[in-house]
């Protein structure tokens, strides 16, 4: 039987974070794990996930660089940036590069679930046609309080 679960690529160098996602949300989604930026880019192309959860601190490449490359491969892919080191400048940069949401670790399970659902619904319903261009503000679709604050700054 075909697996109908939506695929989520998790990019984080913490093994335990992969375990926690799999354990808490593994029933609803199919998780693909990448421990580094290079692995993320390879697995992104191999698996064509519906959503990416990306930590900004990676052992090989800057997370923002990975975000940029993923967005070049698929401009419409929802990317949720997660970070343990929250600063406004990076958040703005992440949103400019097309992140859908920017979430600080440690987050609530109910919150990340809501954000994942919202971004997947957005991808299903609002997928624009090819060749359409966005401006930075259009790309910000996150609705968390932090995102709304950041969107005012851009």
């Amino acid at each position: 039987m075909q697996d109908l679960k939506k695929k989520i690529l998790i990019v984080d160098d913490e093994e335990s974070v992969h375990y926690a996602f799999q354990r808490t949300l593994g029933r609803d989604y199919k998780f693909i794990s990448a421990m580094s930026g290079a692995e993320a880019l390879t697995k992104f192309q191999e698996n064509e996930p519906h959503l990416v959860i990306l930590d900004l601190k990676l052992p090989d490449l800057p997370g923002l660089e990975v975000l940029k490359e993923i967005k070049q491969l698929d401009p419409h892919i929802p990317v949720i940036v997660i970070t343990a080191f929250a600063d406004t400048e990076t958040a703005i940069q992440a949103m400019k590069e097309g992140a859908f949401d920017y979430i600080c670790k440690p987050f609530d399970l109910s919150f990340i679930k809501k954000v994942i659902n919202k971004d997947l619904v957005y991808k299903d319903e609002e997928q624009p046609g090819h060749g359409e261009s966005f401006n930075t503000k259009d790309k910000i679709v996150g609705r968390s309080k932090a995102i709304l604050e950041i969107s005012k700054l851009i």
């Binding site: 913490e14 335990s16 354990r23």
Partner: protein
Amino acid sequence: MQLLRAEKFSALGQFAAGLAHEIKNPLTTIKMLIQNYLEEGNPLEKKDLEIIEKELNRIDKLVKDFLRFARVDKGVKEQFDLKEALTEIIDLIKPELERAKISLKLNFPEKGIWIYGDKDGLKQVFLNLILNAYQAIDSNSKGVITITLFQEKEEVHAIIEDNGVGIPTEHIPKIFDPFFTTKSEGTGMGLAIVKSIIKDHMGQIDISSQINKGTKVKIYPTY
């Protein structure tokens, strides 16, 4: 003086930010697993609890390492025999080296070397450096750790060498930075602690390394 204090506070702020960052990662896992039980009603399995315990131990180690690094409890300086202090550390770690089939070569002077310093702090320095040497050695290779201690005029030299994997050149400038690590289980505080303690003794550290040949760390604790 004011500038120095400002720099010190700014550095402390950076370290505190680094510590917060390192702690938030294990907290994420712990929080997700516990909320999965409390809010979703999914029972915690043995593996969940093992991971929670591992992550709590990691936070505990980070905080302890950070306090050692920040030198909140600066050791009392006293006259002591550095050869004896180093021997105590070697005795502690020897069984582990034997288990890993790593040979230990000691080039020690016959007499003791008496210095004025923080004995516990310098023992911590030796422990961290020997552990690094041990961890740099591939389990399949014929590992050798050589420790040399000597005194030249008024200067004391301690050299710890290994024939392990070596340190990539691009990592050398960062290895003393707090939280810099290439080990999956490391907190990245070991060499930062070494630097902090040696600095307290107005001493110096030199590192040279070659990939797949090994690493040599020389320290010159104050005389």
